[in-house]
């Protein structure tokens, strides 16, 4: 995409990218679980995208393009700093969460809703959480999510499956209270 006029280039970039800032910020927030870190990653994402905007082909998927950059920034930061978000063993995920962490979570996210789902999502290992965020929350296709994360479509499918099952296992009681799945409990 060639832009001889800098103002027009900026305008075209903003018309494509700015409407996605909220989705990028929310995903960044759920990847990092830290508002400052999430904002830094979004800013870096926009800057990188702007610098490489001439390589963006009009008509291709801007959402997938920006999420690819976002995930790359996120992965590089945590890789460099060796401070990836804490992982819990999959087997531990069905244990009750620490109430103190709930308080922190509710304070961070506001108190507009029941934090059960957010808390469970936060405890999911990143490998399972990210496909859920991209596909179930942001509406990317399997193929787009595979492109964002740089892995095979089959891998995305199996991680998504595992993530959904783990999330359900963590939320089973909440789901039952909400009237879902009272009769049977699927094998997780």
């Amino acid at each position: 995409m060639s832009h001889p006029d800098p103002d027009e280039r900026r305008r075209q970039f903003e018309s494509i990218a700015l409407p996605l800032m909220q989705a990028l910020y929310n995903t960044s927030l759920r990847l990092t679980t830290d508002a400052d870190e999430a904002a830094d990653i979004v800013q870096e994402t926009f800057l990188r995208a702007y610098r490489t905007f001439d390589n963006f082909r009009p008509g291709t998927n801007a959402r997938a393009w920006l999420f690819t950059i976002l995930y790359s920034v996120f992965a590089n930061r945590y890789r460099e700093a060796k401070r990836r978000p804490r992982m819990e063993a999959v087997e531990q995920l069905e244990a009750p969460a620490n109430p103190e962490s709930d308080i922190t979570l509710v304070a961070a996210w506001g108190s507009r809703w029941n934090p059960e789902v957010e808390r469970a999502l936060r405890r999911l290992p990143e490998d399972f959480r990210t496909p859920l965020l991209l596909i179930d929350v942001e509406g990317l296709s399997y193929e787009e999510a595979a492109s964002v994360l740089g892995c095979a479509v089959g891998t995305i499918g199996s991680r998504l499956f595992r993530g959904r099952k783990l999330l359900y296992a963590m939320l089973q009681e909440y789901a039952h209270q909400a009237g879902y799945g009272k009769d049977t409990a699927p094998d997780s």
Partner: protein, 262 residues
């Protein structure tokens, strides 16, 4: 299709997400009729996808982040672009230069819109959804902070038009014909948009207007571009302009109400 225990496993997800062909869907439906565990697992997967994850709150972008992004893009614009010039690029540049010379010859007034034309174009772009706002908020102070953090080189103020039934929608760190501009938008009665811009400049630099008004000692220059009315006035070193496709006199009255003699 089934695992070693005779259940569908990940095939259930492919079924749920409509990634199976028609024949396989039939097979899955037949299996589900006789397998309570797979039915239950399918219901759980569907609940996670369609209920649980749809409950997640959507956080607003912090105004400070929107301003930081705008400032970062501004800084990137100021950096020289390093290019490796190949023969083809040089030839392209020469052709482009020739085209510019040709345009100047056929267009003595120069290239590009006049300021009123540029403001009208911005209004239309906003109305058509191709000019996004940096920040969506009804908080005037937040929009003023956005412009301050975005490096606006002049003092500006966001109008309170609530008495006239215009609600602030948000703002954008903008450029109007390459000059920094504070752009903010209102939604008025009948869903009419009102786009305001402020930039450093002089009213005298605008092209001649056939409609010059004076109110409370302030001069207003009014332009019309199709259905869009533009009203310019000067406040110190800053030019203010309102643009809207609402009734022309109503737009002029809004300008009268908000203009301040400096």
């Amino acid at each position: 299709m089934t695992d070693s225990a005779g259940h569908l496993g990940v095939t259930l997800q492919d079924f749920l997400d409509e990634r199976l062909d028609a024949a396989r869907q039939v097979e899955v439906r037949e299996h589900l009729e006789g397998c309570a565990q797979c039915r239950s697992e399918l219901a759980a997967l569907r609940w996670v996808r369609d209920v649980a994850l749809k409950q997640l709150p959507v956080e607003d972008v912090p105004p400070a982040l929107a301003a930081r992004v705008a400032a970062a893009l501004n800084a990137a614009d100021k950096q020289p672009v390093r290019r490796r010039w190949g023969r083809r690029a040089v030839a392209g540049a020469l052709l482009a230069a020739a085209a510019v010379v040709l345009l100047l010859l056929v267009s003595p007034s120069g290239i590009g819109d006049t300021l009123p034309e540029a403001v009208a174009r911005d209004f239309t772009a906003y109305r058509d959804g191709t000019l996004p706002l940096t920040l969506h908020t009804s908080d005037g102070a937040a929009v003023e902070r956005l412009f301050a953090a975005g490096g606006a080189p002049f003092a500006m103020r966001v109008f309170d038009l609530g008495m006239m039934q215009y609600q602030l929608v948000g703002g954008r760190v903008h450029r109007l014909r390459s000059r920094p501009s504070a752009l903010f938008v209102y939604r008025g009665p009948d869903g009419r948009d009102l786009v305001c811009q402020m930039y450093e400049g002089r009213l005298a630099d605008l092209p001649r207007s056939d409609d010059m008004r004076e109110h409370n000692g302030i001069n207003f220059q009014v332009y019309r571009a199709g259905t869009v009315t533009l009203v310019f006035w000067q406040e110190g070193a800053v030019v203010c302009v309102l643009a809207s496709d609402a009734d022309a006199e109503a737009v002029i009255q809004l300008a009268y109400a908000k203009a301040v003699k400096v």
